[in-house]
């Protein structure tokens, strides 16, 4: 069981959601996060001072899946989330030791 964590652009969310649905990924969790870094955030002004927001608002998706599905999901995410411009984001894969469905107590693949 693996957990895929993808950090994507706000503006690509609908595309990614639909692409995931198309390959039958039925559940995922989303968190609003802030991406800090050299990328420089939005260029803003306020009362005459202009500044770069030091972060860009981003979305982090977490998808738990069987190991063998990782490749397909990552490929799907890349296809849907990519603009080709700097700032498209990253995808991590982390190992999950155990997954349990709260409703039934099932673990492993059945819990998905």
């Amino acid at each position: 069981m693996k957990k895929i964590e993808a950090i994507i652009r706000l503006s690509r969310f609908e595309r990614v959601r639909d692409a995931l649905a198309a390959i039958d990924i039925r559940f995922f969790t989303m968190t609003e996060v802030k991406g800090f870094g050299l990328q420089k955030g939005e260029h803003l002004t306020y009362r005459g001072s202009s500044y770069d927001a030091d972060y860009i608002p981003r979305l982090q998706l977490e998808i738990v899946c069987p190991g063998e599905q990782v490749e397909e999901i990552v490929a799907t995410l890349i296809a849907a989330a990519r603009t080709g411009e700097v700032g498209d984001g990253k995808i991590l894969v982390v190992d999950v030791e155990q997954m349990t469905r709260i409703r039934t107590g099932e673990t492993g693949i059945e819990a998905l």
Binding site: L44, T45, Y46, R47, G48, S49, S50, Y51
Partner: protein
């Protein structure tokens, strides 16, 4: 003078009073919108208490300090504590030649009083200790505002000298603005505002509340200026409405244009401050100007705003809501404008406007500086760095402004 005209006049003064009251809500909203959410309870608290302190001190002695009825042409006078309705006719229609009653006189002027302290409240936001601020507001409203007010409106020396300030560009706005400047100097900037890497703006947390505040202030200004006619005289009050509306509109427009040229941005906070700048500037001569002159006065104010905001920032004078730019700079400009435009214009008048403005400003600045300095040396005026980081809402009020 007949009963009906008396009633209509007095009615206008009372309605204007409620509109000036709403300005306190305007200030509270504007300042709340322009601070960070972690300091919102604090600013609302200060604004609530200022009205309370303002009205109570004005009742106790402020009114009789500002309108002592004695020592005409002087610098100080006191008419006694509390209020008491003059007996007979002189407490009724004869009190102000049928323009308003004694009670109306007090309540209209009392609503004005608190305004000056509110201006300071915004400038010291996000870092000043609550108790120190409340003590300052108490002293300022007890001593500074009524005394300088007496100089002109209470028939003191400036009035005798021919100084003109219709509704308070100087006596309310610049008085507050100068005190704000003193406070900002002694208080220092918010942490993280002026860094080695340059100015790091600390944006206000809610533009809707800021805009709400400005619209309410504009609304209230019709009562602030219109009520300063001190009767419902149709021609004068309606002229004041026209000049007030056009000056605010012009301030918005030129702030929009100039901030576009200066910063290539359509900065809402500048347009909002531009409106206020135009309103402050017309206040000194709202009854003396033709519409086109009102547009010029407001238009200049709208251009002054973006420059002055940036200038104060360059001098590292950190004023979260722009009170010094709006009330001090445009208050001085509006006072001088009475000598430049309108029916009083002339070198002689300009000179009087200038020294009147400096005299009032100097006194207000000096007194405010003294009070803040004493407070700084005794109980301290600034919250700890930790409290500032965490926000005054939790640090001073054990509350948050927002919960989900």
């Amino acid at each position: 003078m007949n009963e009906a005209l008396f009633t209509a006049n007095n009615l206008w003064m009372l309605v204007a009073t409620t509109m000036v009251f709403i300005m306190h809500l305007g200030f509270a909203s504007l300042e709340a919108g322009f601070v960070q959410s972690k300091n919102t309870v604090n600013i609302l608290f200060k604004n609530s208490m200022i009205i309370s302190i303002g009205l109570l001190t004005y009742y106790m002695y402020g009114f009789n300090l500002m309108y002592p009825g004695v020592n005409e042409g002087g610098v100080f006078g006191f008419g006694g504590f509390g209020l008491s309705l003059p007996a007979g006719e002189s407490g009724d229609i004869a009190y102000a030649a049928g323009a308003y009653t004694y009670w109306t006189d007090f309540i209209f002027q009392g609503m004005f009083a608190a305004t000056a302290a509110t201006i300071v409240s915004g400038a010291v936001a996000e870092r000043m200790k609550l108790n120190a601020f409340l003590i300052f507001a108490f002293i300022f409203l007890s001593v500074v505002y009524p005394v300088t007010g007496m100089w002109k409106w209470g028939k003191g020396w400036l009035d005798a000298a021919g100084f003109y300030d219709f509704a308070g560009s100087t006596l309310v706005h610049a008085v507050g603005g100068w005190a704000a400047l003193a406070a900002v100097i002694l208080l220092g900037p918010r942490h993280g505002k002026y860094t080695e890497a340059g100015i790091r703006p600390i944006p206000g947390h809610s533009m809707p509340f800021a805009a709400l505040g400005v619209f309410l202030l504009w609304f209230g200004w019709f009562g602030f200026n219109g009520g300063s006619v001190l009767s419902a005289n149709p021609l004068t009050v309606s002229l004041v409405f026209v000049t007030t509306a056009l000056s605010g509109a012009a301030g918005a427009f030129t702030a929009f244009v100039s901030s576009w040229f200066l910063y290539k941005s359509h900065d809402l906070s500048m347009v909002l401050n531009g409106i206020l700048g135009g309103l402050v500037a017309i206040t000194a001569g709202a009854d003396q100007m033709l519409p086109m002159q009102a547009i010029l006065i407001g238009g200049v104010a709208g251009v002054l705003i973006p420059f002055s905001v940036v200038l104060f920032d360059k001098w590292k004078l950190d004023d979260p809501v722009g009170a010094t730019s709006v009330h001090l700079v445009c208050g001085v400009w509006g006072t001088l404008a009475v000598g430049i435009f309108g029916s009083l214009a002339g070198w002689q008048q300009l000179w009087i406007q200038l020294y009147g403005s400096l005299a009032v400003g100097g006194f207000s600045f000096a007194m405010a500086f003294l009070v803040f300095w004493l407070l700084k040396k005794t109980i301290g005026i600034r919250v700890s760095a930790e409290a500032e980081k965490y926000g005054l809402d939790v640090a001073e009020h054990n509350m948050r402004a927002y919960y989900r």
